[in-house]
């Protein structure tokens, strides 16, 4: 198996992009990544694109062919594959790209992600997202995504004494980080009080505990590590890739306050990388809701189970803390175009490792991690990166 590196990255501005389509965004992100890697179309062996629900959001399936077409690669007949794992579609596209290069089947591969979510009403978007839960045995009874995470939060609060203020601190921190990220959806500081006063969505989660509906696309260019320096002065090595699955429905899980898929994907990635959680300098984790970040830092082994709320409250996970989490602003404040999120995480970590993260740059970054979750934890992907 060959070692794989990222030789180029690109990401569109995230947000409510009324003026652009899915096609426009994927082309923009792809061109940025290709220009960053200084490659040409003829060098691309394969495309992988993460997209959760083109069918529901823009009534367009067959996104694989579409993005090859939009990228101007149709006449080169480059193999292009769309992968789907709900909100982990981007992370899964990255992993598929890695496997393709690692296996020797391909040399230069684009792993991209895209979602255009604002062409439908928020109700339709919520329903499309709810399709990532168990349609028959969760959604049929009125479950929504915020409701599933709210039930995890309720139990976490009861078992570990986590407070809503601690959860709100995740949002406050990630909004603060997003203010330093030019591509972020929100450039707006918020306070714990703002979160507490925002309308309730599913008790105990308020509007400001939830990631927004967003448009956006991101792309990375992968190459075998042994030739990566031909394309980039600062290639980023992917030293660990872990993927795990769990039951589709939350109610079937072993433990409702742990995402076992995260635990298993994390272990696999750490084992492959030969790295311990404490060695990680910066991480992008899947904070689709504030409670999700607390669960993630526990399940990835950064803090003990039950200590995620306290760690957040104490500033451990803020920029300047011992383990800055979600310097991009996370899903919460950078935005969450679901298929693009997993790739945007890799983009952010690559910028941090390259020292190009601007005002939000973490000092002395050696090891970065990206953690992407599908649904309420039916799929999880963890990638570990080094310089």
């Amino acid at each position: 198996m060959r070692s794989v590196s990222i030789i180029g990255v690109g990401c569109t501005k995230f947000g409510e992009r009324w003026d652009v389509s899915l096609r426009d965004m994927i082309a923009e992100a792809g061109v940025l990544a290709i220009e960053d890697a200084e490659i040409v179309g003829e060098q691309i062996d394969a495309l992988y694109v993460g997209n959760m629900s083109g069918g529901r959001f823009i009534e367009q399936e067959h996104i694989g062919a579409l993005i090859a077409d939009c990228a101007g690669l149709s006449r080169l007949h480059v193999p292009s594959t769309r992968v789907e794992a709900a909100c982990a579609s981007g992370g899964l596209a990255l992993r598929q790209g890695i496997l393709s290069v690692a296996s020797g089947y391909s040399d230069i591969v684009i792993a991209a992600g895209v979602e255009k979510m604002t062409d439908v009403s928020s109700g339709t978007a919520a329903d499309a997202l709810a399709a990532a839960a168990d349609r028959e045995w969760e959604c049929f009874f009125g479950a929504t995504f915020p409701a599933l995470y709210a039930m995890m939060a309720k139990l976490h609060m009861r078992r570990y004494g986590t407070t809503h203020d601690q959860m709100a601190q995740v949002a406050v921190k990630n909004h603060h980080h997003a203010c330093m990220n030019p591509i972020a959806q929100y450039h707006m500081e918020i306070s714990i009080e703002d979160v507490n006063k925002s309308p309730m969505v599913a008790d105990p989660l308020h509007v400001l505990d939830c990631s927004p509906i967003s448009d956006g696309a991101a792309a990375v260019v992968l190459a075998p590590t042994d030739i990566a320096r031909r394309f980039s002065d600062t290639p980023i090595k992917i030293v660990g890739s872990g993927q795990a699955s769990d039951t589709l429905a939350l109610h079937d899980r072993r433990d409702l306050t742990t995402l076992d898929a995260t635990v298993h994907a994390g272990r696999a990635a750490f084992r492959q990388a030969g790295i311990e959680p404490r060695q990680v300098d910066v991480a992008e984790v899947h904070d689709c809701f504030t409670i999700a970040e607390i669960l993630a830092i526990e399940d990835l082994g950064f803090v003990e189970k039950g200590q995620g709320g306290k760690a957040t409250e104490e500033g451990l996970t803020a920029l300047g803390g011992t383990l800055p989490i979600n310097t991009s602003g996370g899903l919460k404040a950078c935005g969450h175009p679901v298929g693009a999120t997993g790739i945007k995480q890799a983009y952010e970590i690559a910028l941090q490792l390259r020292g190009e993260a601007g005002k939000r740059q973490v000092d002395e970054v050696e090891v970065g991690l990206a953690h992407n979750v599908g649904g309420s934890g039916g799929t999880a992907l963890v990638h570990i990166f080094t310089r």
Binding site: A126, W137, F141, G142, P146, M151, K154, L155, A202, D252
Partner: protein, 151 residues
């Protein structure tokens, strides 16, 4: 209009009466029914089992912002309930006088789960209500006594 009648009809025994499965080999109960036991897989001995429907609330939330189909119902309570036989399921807790709590005992009730707009079929099935132990004995005795007094 498009209807999901076949899709709903297929699961009527599960929706109305919590028909699940039980593996005779490892003794685990499954709801919704599983055709493959995750413990014994192809070595399983699965049989149909109708759950009693009583259970305990493991966790819950109150939903204020729902999908279009459930907008009329907000706010409503959703819970994960552990059935007495073991499996956990997601279900609504109907509006009740008591405050919903983790650990609260519940029983099944028959309600409308959804409708295909004004023209399509109606989805009926199971929701949950706080388990009220029969108070009939006391009240019937009380009534009998008061009836006797008025004689």
């Amino acid at each position: 209009m498009t209807t999901q009648a076949p899709r709903f009809w297929r699961s009527i025994p599960q929706r109305y009466n919590l028909l699940g499965t039980h593996c005779n080999r490892c003794n685990e109960y499954f709801f919704p029914p599983r055709n493959l036991c995750p413990n014994c897989r192809r070595g399983a001995h699965l049989e149909e089992y109708t759950f009693k429907g009583t259970g305990t609330i493991v966790t819950y939330t109150t939903i204020y912002n729902a999908t279009e189909e459930f907008e009329r119902l907000t706010p409503y309570n959703l819970a994960i309930i552990q059935l007495d036989e073991g499996p956990k399921i997601t279900g609504q807790i109907i509006s009740c006088s008591e405050e919903v709590k983790i650990g609260m005992r519940v029983r099944p009730v028959f309600r409308i789960l959804g409708k295909e707009g004004d023209r399509g079929i109606i989805y009926y099935g199971t929701k949950f209500a706080p388990l009220i132990e029969p108070s009939c004995l006391e009240s019937a005795e009380g009534l009998l006594n008061s009836a006797k007094e008025s004689d």
